[in-house]
């Protein structure tokens, strides 16, 4: 499926607004053909909650508690549910829509397959679970959300590697 050379933006941490704004800017740059298809890896500092494009903020986030804990809140351009971002690697895949399968489920499967293969390289056996999850030992470690606008495909996803339950 990869017909073009991908640009890879290496892992860096940013705050919630920066992280989402940069993905938007990349999507715009790809749309205007001033940037090629891009994979970006990033983290969140401080920890943050992102909510889906169609969710109502006051219903899914306790803003007072987030403020008390110093957790930032941001809306994604992609659908899906609220996600707490802390000890994880987040990725975005941004490219012209025609580089991805037209079928939404197939596109999730394609990128899910990349993650499963990457995990295998470091000795972790993962499985793709439709619609958009990757499981290890039967438990979800990665979820994703996709958008397609103006001919540009964007998929956000997470890969959790630890959890601070405190």
């Amino acid at each position: 499926m990869l017909r073009k050379r991908w640009r890879v933006l290496r892992y860096e941490k940013g705050n919630a607004a920066y992280n989402m704004a940069l993905d938007e800017a990349i999507a715009e740059a790809v749309a205007f053909r001033v940037a090629g298809p891009t994979m970006r890896f990033y983290g969140w500092e401080p920890a943050a909650v992102s909510i889906g494009r169609f969710q109502k903020l006051d219903e899914v986030v306790d803003m007072q508690e987030c403020e008390r804990l110093g957790v930032e809140v941001v809306r994604r351009s992609t659908g899906g549910g609220a996600v707490f971002h802390d000890q994880e690697i987040t990725y975005s895949v941004i490219c012209p829509e025609d580089m991805m399968p037209a079928d939404i489920n197939e596109a999730y499967r394609e990128i899910g397959g990349w993650i499963v293969n990457a995990l295998k390289l470091i000795g972790i056996e993962g499985t793709f679970e439709p619609i958009n999850d990757v499981l290890v030992n039967g438990k979800k470690i990665s979820g994703s959300a996709q958008s397609r606008r103006k001919g540009i495909f964007v998929q956000h996803g997470t890969l959790i590697y630890d959890l601070d339950r405190a």
């Binding site: 169609f54 969710q55 109502k56 899914v60 659908g79 899906g80 549910g81 939404i104 489920n105």
Partner: protein
């Protein structure tokens, strides 16, 4: 006024109504679903109000037809779920 449904598969689908007197003037659809293309959801909301889909003989069919005609795709809820929330709608 809000109506909410936990859809099979675990997603949440909610409707918010805006009324002027007895008339529904706006419907907002929210939840943790996916909708492609995203900007199509606003058109769906307008369609529901303009056509008063809750009064239609076959609301589910009307919604399904609107989605397929416009090549919109909802992932996480079905036309029947939205039709269920629209049942007997009034301000």
């Amino acid at each position: 006024m809000e109506r909410r449904l936990r859809v099979a598969g675990g997603k949440t689908l909610a409707l918010d109504l805006e009324c002027q007197g007895d008339e529904v003037v706006r419907i907002m659809v929210s939840g943790d679903f996916f909708f492609y293309p995203e900007e199509g959801l606003e058109r769906l909301e307008s369609f529901l109000v303009d056509k008063k889909v809750w009064k239609a003989e076959d609301p589910e069919g009307e919604i399904a037809n609107f989605l397929s005609t416009n090549r919109y795709r909802a992932v996480g809820f079905a036309p029947s779920d939205l039709a269920f929330l629209l049942r007997g709608l009034k301000c």
